[in-house]
Symmetry: C2
Subunit: 291 residues, 2 copies
């Protein structure tokens, strides 16, 4: 391909649009530009090629024989390009947006807001995939993951969605009148933990304690942890944001708080995002801002 001798592509596009519409005003409309822009580009093209493409006699402009010839080629050429682009773009767009997240985030934050998303973007399908572990983000598979942490993971792009520290919480009934709970004391209470996760044990271990043999660890599906917590069935570690209301109205007591800069992040692969994914991510961020 001899690119260097090709006229400016903008001028070819303007000419093609003019050839289609037979009128600079409409050609401009088709390209989202003013009629003057088309007029100028047509001159640029003729000047560049040194060929009379347009017959400017009379009120309306028409194509010369050479112009018709070029117009046919442009229609075919740009047509082929446009068709291929369209095909590739839309081949992705009927696939739903695949979101991997933790079940607690899904239950406590995302699910209540989903109806609002459906209302605004009924055309975008979603797959919510609650799984405790990080999954591979790859084209054709999971589009985005929502994960808790401090960000900065390597190999992926991440942006903070919701900043909130981890807290150790329990219902007042469980704690009875005792205050000043040390980690070792807490280890003797029953613990609620989502199946397959180890945050609770890790937290205790990090403080030299270990869940006592008599206390018992209750492993429940992620969506039931908070319900059990409120029912006074055990202590648990969770993201403060999810129990904020309960803490404020005294239904839950906050025992320890991790003062780090962690929070939920939107994690995406370092490859271009489909338009639908961008839409969903944008919506997520707007939702998080207006909490």
């Amino acid at each position: 391909m001899n690119w260097k001798s090709l006229p400016p592509l903008t001028s070819l596009r303007a000419f093609s649009a003019f050839a289609e519409k037979k009128n600079v005003v409409q050609a401009g409309a088709a390209l989202n530009v003013s009629h003057a822009a088309i007029s100028q580009q047509l001159r640029v093209l003729e000047e560049h090629m040194g060929v009379a493409l347009l017959d400017r006699s009379g009120k309306t402009m028409s194509l010369t024989a050479e112009g018709e010839h070029l117009a046919r080629a442009l229609h075919l050429g740009f047509g082929a390009i446009g068709a291929a682009v369209e095909e590739l773009v839309r081949s992705g767009s009927d696939r739903p947006v695949h979101v991997s997240l933790t079940s607690s985030f899904a239950a406590s934050w995302l699910m209540p807001r989903l109806p609002a998303f459906r209302a605004v973007h009924p055309e975008i399908g979603l797959i919510l995939d609650p799984s405790p572990e990080l999954v591979e983000l790859r084209p054709g598979g999971v589009d985005i993951a929502i994960r808790y942490g401090e960000g900065g993971w390597s190999g992926v792009d991440s942006q903070m969605l919701l900043r909130s520290p981890m807290v150790i919480v329990a219902a007042p009934e469980l704690l009875e009148d005792k205050s000043d709970w040390t980690p070792a004391d807490l280890a003797e209470l029953p613990w609620l933990q989502e199946v397959g996760t180890t945050e609770a044990s890790m937290w205790l271990a990090g403080r030299g304690a270990e869940i006592g043999p008599g206390a018992g660890r209750i492993e429940v599906p992620g969506n039931l942890v908070l319900d059990g917590l409120r029912a006074g069935q055990g202590v648990t570690i969770t993201v403060r944001h999810f129990v904020e209301q309960d803490i404020l109205n005294g239904r839950i007591v906050e025992l320890y708080s991790e003062p780090d800069a962690a929070g939920y992040h939107i994690v995406t692969a370092r490859s271009p995002m489909r338009a639908e994914v961008k839409t969903f991510v944008g919506w997520l961020k707007r939702q998080a801002r207006q909490v």
Copy 2:
């Protein structure tokens, strides 16, 4: 054609060049830009389409399946466009440049300089068409005309090539010892006039005189007017530039000079000039400057 959803054409071109060269540096070379420009345009395209077109793992980049698909379409599309453009541009370029001019300009100014043009641009053919009258400038016919006057003709573009006033001249032999020639006196002398032109009669008429019956008007082909003048066969009106040397060395006497801003102009149609015509016009102007 749905122009509005098309990605920037620059980015499509960059991608197509990359697909061809398999390498950003060479793709840049093919488009006369730096490798960084290609790199950035590839990102723009992927971002716009939301489709992974490139596999960036490893040292070299390669196309994904989607990328290959798009590359094929772009190759065909841009190929069709490039071929049509090339065809139109070269269809004009084997036709010689057709120049209409007066025979006196041809003989006195252009012909002596033509060998220099042939030496620099052997690939450009010329047709010199000496004709006294203005001709129609149209695509496929006469490309440029060289005409004497004050410029500003309507319907055409003109640019001054050589400024020089009209003068009335004669050989000293013809004038003998008499000086102070009035127009009426001159009317009694023989006049040399190019066949088909009326400048001489017009000049006399404009001054209340008329070629006398005894004097005689000698109509000769344009290329012979200056020869006859030098041989003392008659008075004539001509452009001063052509007889400048003769005036300076006394072989010709300048009787009257029209002090207007006239001169030879390059006259072209208000339609795009073929590349070869531009070359010739540029050469003409450079020649005129260095006189």
